[in-house]
């Protein structure tokens, strides 16, 4: 199976779900070609609303549609849509409206366009809103499962997708289970990596490289960042000496923070290595060059984990 961007998988899944769920509608703020909501728009033109470059209004409009019984997916780049924070906080969050906020272009992996287009604080922002669930699928199959789930979920949700193609990490027959972390590489006597989104495949590659150096490293895919699979974290902490989080996001407020909260609150002393963007801005470059620079590719993960284990 060739690698696919989760944004593509999202667009196709949404178009598919449109048949099964007549209440599903989609909105975009002039980025339908990029978020891939255009796939839905072409199939269901009367259920798609082009809002123009006006994300705040899109958020409120989505909330109104949801409060009147629709299931709106409102789409933009993760940074732009979550940047209209107060609109999400009140019109969607406080309302507990059934809006699905779809933020594409997650992380530094978008490369060329640079920091202003990168979703790097979006997970932190969305995690802080009461009742908001945060989902970041790792491949196309998981994206489809997540979209299907979100057509049934009650309450607000944030779905984070990638611009770049990502390799498939899940088996052909895969069932998305909301809130349940997926162990993709067993073991992990030395380290267990909790990875999310595009970092999952890199984590698997890194574990393979580290195995050759004699380290036993397990990998867990966290597609649901909120609510976090607490049991999975605690179970891993018992069997390993290093917990690692890997995310294409700031290490402040994202998956790394979520895992550290669990470890600290349960009095677990297992050491934690948070891998992500370290309180700095993203930069332009080819996706490969930028991922390498931030040590978020397989080699970068392996290097940081080995250094922590040595």
């Amino acid at each position: 199976m060739p690698a696919r961007a989760t944004r593509d998988a999202f667009g196709e899944a949404l178009a598919k779900m449109g048949e099964k769920y007549p209440e599903v509608v989609a909105l975009d703020a002039d980025l339908a070609k990029s978020t891939k909501s255009e796939i839905f728009a072409k199939k269901f033109p009367h259920r798609f609303f082009e809002m123009g470059i006006a994300e705040a209004n899109m958020i409120g409009t989505g909330a109104g549609l949801a409060l009147a019984g629709k299931i709106p997916f409102i789409c933009s780049f993760a940074c732009f849509v979550t940047g209209r924070y107060d609109q999400i906080r009140i019109s969607i969050g406080y309302a507990q409206a059934n809006v699905r906020i779809v933020g594409s272009h997650a992380g530094v992996a978008i490369g060329d366009d640079g920091y202003s287009q990168m979703g790097l604080e979006d997970v932190a922002l969305m995690r802080a809103i009461p009742g908001m669930v945060v989902i970041q699928p790792a491949d196309d199959l998981e994206t489809e499962g997540a979209v299907e789930y979100l057509c049934r979920h009650r309450g607000p949700a944030f779905l984070r997708t990638t611009r770049q193609k990502v390799e498939r990490v899940n088996p052909e027959v895969y069932r998305f289970e909301f809130g349940k972390a997926v162990e993709l590489r067993k073991g992990g006597k030395d380290a267990v990596v909790f990875a999310t989104g595009g970092e999952v495949y890199f984590a698997l590659q890194a574990a393979e490289q580290l195995a050759k150096q004699g380290w036993d490293v397990g990998v867990v895919n966290v597609h649901t960042i909120k609510p976090l699979d607490v049991e999975a974290v605690l179970a891993a902490a018992k069997r390993t000496r290093l917990i690692v989080t890997a995310e294409d996001h700031q290490i402040i407020g994202g998956l790394g923070s979520a895992v550290s909260e669990v470890l600290a609150e349960h009095g677990v002393g297992t050491r934690l290595l948070r891998i992500g963007v370290r309180d700095t801005f993203g930069e332009s470059g080819t996706p490969e060059a930028v991922l390498a620079w931030f040590k978020l590719d397989a080699a970068g993960l392996a290097e940081q984990i080995a250094a922590a284990l040595s």
């Binding site: 409009t61 109104g64 409060l67 009147a68 629709k70 107060d86």
Partner: protein, 288 residues
């Protein structure tokens, strides 16, 4: 709008009588809560009364009725007026009105849909409610235009950029099932709207955005009802009703006074206000 002559029609008299009593309730609520926004509640109460008691299709016993008309109070700080109207209509017991802003009360300082059935959306962070109302109107259109959506925005609120995003988009979607009232009481916290950040020429701006724009006296029920009917009869575009209102309407020492935007009256002030309102109601033949 034609000027009224002679004694008003029974429907108008009924509305005057209700809003006259609700003004008293509003003052009592805010006094009891010892905080709240009397100025903008008193400027808005006539319009909200007209909507709930003369024009909206709604059922207080079935607040989740899918086909109900919606009202979104985007200027959420005016919610004492809405709570007073809702209790009068039967959405919740009147005794509950005096729990405004108390810990554990469904009557939050600014409205929220998740706590009080009949409230359509959480508002209070200004600029957001019009977009939400637009989304509801779109949902109605998707299902064949089953209901009408009313929204009230404040004049100071019109300084929010999001209002203009919605002003741009609602005509694009031809939302003739969306009617927006501007509670134009001319005052905001830091001073007169015209000085803080002038919104004029309001009518020209909204007409340029392709809205149907009407201008009325927001305390004249005949004009309020006439404008609602005209808005409903207008096809292909949404309507903005510029309602010229008086901040603190009905209480002499509050009228036009920005100081009463967000200040609760003390005991003496409350007594004086209630005395004035009762006298006014007696003049219009209403009960107190």
């Amino acid at each position: 709008m034609p000027a009224t002559t002679g004694s008003p029609a029974p429907e108008i008299r009924k509305l005057q009588e209700i809003s006259g009593r609700l003004r008293i309730t509003i003052i009592e609520m805010i006094h009891k809560a010892a905080s709240g926004h009397p100025g903008g509640s008193l400027s808005a109460v006539d319009i909200i009364t007209a909507l709930y008691f003369a024009r909206m299709r709604h059922d207080p016993k079935r607040p989740d009725w899918p086909d109900r008309d919606r009202f979104v109070l985007s200027k959420g700080h005016g919610v004492p007026a809405l709570y007073a109207v809702m209790a009068e209509a039967g959405y919740f017991p009147k005794e509950e009105l005096m729990t405004l802003r108390e810990r554990g009360s469904r009557l939050q300082g600014h409205p929220v849909n998740t706590m009080l059935p009949g409230i359509e959306a959480p508002t209070g962070s200004l600029g957001q409610g019009l977009s939400v109302a637009q989304g509801m109107a779109l949902a109605s259109k998707l299902d064949g235009g089953r209901f009408h959506v009313y929204c009230m925005i404040g004049d100071g609120e019109m300084q929010e950029g999001q209002i203009w995003e919605a002003a741009m988009s609602a005509p694009k979607f031809r939302l003739d099932n969306l009617t927006v009232f501007l509670d134009y009481n001319k005052g905001q916290i830091d001073g007169p709207v015209a000085e803080v950040m002038n919104i004029e020429p309001v009518a020209d701006k909204w007409r340029a955005f392709n809205w149907n724009v009407l201008t009325i006296d927001g305390h004249d029920f005949e004009q309020i009802l006439g404008a609602i009917d005209e808005a409903k009869a207008t096809t292909g575009k949404p309507t903005l009703i510029i309602a010229n209102t008086v901040k603190g309407k009905g209480v002499s020492f509050m009228e036009h006074q920005i100081a009463w935007h967000g200040t609760a009256p003390n005991k003496e002030q409350t007594e004086k206000a209630l005395e004035e309102l009762r006298a006014l109601n007696a003049l219009t033949g209403g009960r107190n």
